[in-house]
Symmetry: C2
Subunit: 297 residues, 2 copies
């Protein structure tokens, strides 16, 4: 299995699922839903839903995709809403995302804020809906809680607040670690754990996967910092060099390009090491760790 083929197949699976899991652009709220779907369908690597599916597959290869896909789509809704809100003029003020106009550029600020709110809320509609798949209420609720915790004020939202508040200030490296862990790492780890929980992971397996998630989350953010500093806007599909322009602290600013690259590589290796108790069903998780280091956008 090549990672490229695997990613393409899984991305297709996730994107095909949108049509059944995301509101249709019809009825009273068609315009609003159009704005939600615009950002959801604008492409992207689908890293979080793919990690969720891969973690489920690492636990049990007979995991039903109709049980895990609603969770995978919920994770992508949350990630997409965070991008819409991060891009707003009051936040990072970005006009370009995934090579396309950002949501507020196309639909206006008010509609973009609401598209984000709608996607975030829809994630919990998907997670709370017992009609979608056959997971037990208990499993579903545990998954809901771990995702809410990771997405909220102690996780992604809190990290973004800290990130914005820290622009153009100097702060210790430990604060940068807190920002990365909460803004990016928490939801990536939750994506892995949610999929594994859905497939019935043991406590020991969850502990190992939490380690894995933390390390690839770290690698993911370090590589993001690297790409922002070294790639072109065309390669990224979003504004390159924006971190420096916004006065954001990054790994390259602390360590330089070379040492930053080493740190990303080390995190990926540690992630793979934490998978030692898993058999070959975890191969996609191992390949995903490598992909996170080698990706170019």
């Amino acid at each position: 299995m090549e990672i490229k083929d695997y990613l393409n197949k899984q991305r297709q699976l996730v994107e095909d699922a949108f049509d059944s899991y995301i509101p249709a652009t019809s009825g009273d709220f068609a315009e609003h839903i159009k704005a939600m779907r615009y950002s959801l369908e604008a492409g992207g690597k689908r890293v979080r839903p793919i990690l969720c599916l891969a973690a489920a597959g690492a636990i049990a290869d007979d995991t039903k995709s109709e049980d895990i896909l609603p969770i995978a789509c919920a994770l992508e809704c949350i990630h997409t809403y965070s991008l819409i809100h991060d891009d707003l003029p009051a936040m990072d003020n970005d006009a370009l995302r995934r090579g396309k106009a950002t949501n507020h550029i196309l639909f206006g600020e008010a509609a973009a804020i609401l598209a984000g709110d709608g996607l975030l809320t829809w994630a919990f509609d998907l997670l709370g809906d017992q009609q979608r798949g056959n997971l037990s209420a208990n499993k579903r609720l545990r998954i809901t809680h771990i995702i809410a915790r990771a997405a909220g004020s102690y996780g992604m939202v809190g990290g973004q607040a800290l990130d914005i508040a820290s622009e153009n200030t100097t702060f210790p490296f430990s604060t940068l670690q807190t920002i990365h862990r909460s803004k990016t790492g928490a939801l990536i780890t939750a994506s892995v754990l949610a999929g594994a929980m859905g497939a019935g992971a043991s406590k020991e397996q969850l502990t190992a996967l939490e380690q894995y998630g933390n390390q690839i989350g770290l690698a993911f953010q370090i590589v993001d910092d690297l790409l922002n500093a070294t790639a072109t806007t065309k390669q990224l599909g979003k504004a390159a060099g924006s971190d420096e322009a916004l006065g954001k602290a990054t790994y390259p600013a602390y360590f330089g390009i070379e040492e930053t690259r080493n740190k990303a590589k080390a995190a990926v290796e540690e992630a793979k090491t934490s998978l030692s108790l898993f058999d070959d069903k975890a191969r996609p998780l191992r390949l995903l760790a490598d992909y996170i280091y080698t990706r170019s956008n």
Copy 2:
């Protein structure tokens, strides 16, 4: 029991619960949480949590408050987030709410958007957390789903999107009804149903309470329209006359003040009629219906 005493007692119960149910303003995310708490603690009638508690009490008078309060607080988190986002410059651009500066005036736009995102996400953290109270996973999940549906793109968020898009346009009365039902009515009805589900309501009881919720939701929004047109900014604690200034369609604009008042009264009477199968435990719900008509802010 006087409605005033009842409301004061219940409001106190809800506000006392915030300290245990809402993140503390300490640690890495203290500034962000401060912004969340500012709006949550700025007062307000606490109508949704009080309705939730009253509905639970109407089903079973031995309902444990530690089972229902997390749900009640989640509803208030969702309502408060919606006010923070509605007040943003890109939306209604309000500087005053509950007699105090709005969130973005005090904390800035980026922090206000994130305070809203944090409160919305925290609501689902509360709903998903099995450590809070002793509701079964099944009940808790049903409640989570009904609240997510009411708060999202087919409910409150969709209604707000429609409301914003409809400013300064003319549209049929049926669109105004859709806006009201989704923007305000859906979460009020969900508040009633969530409390009742938590207390173990039967299908028949839920059907009656859904009627009740829909009618008081309608009355609530009509009275909001009336107060916006007739009360002063001082009485309301928020900008009076803003509907007209923003070119919003309202009940008074369609029917005039007198007829609008009659419609609110009729909705309240219908709400009370739908409670006929309940005994005296539903007295708070009956009083709340009257209060919604007679309130002055």
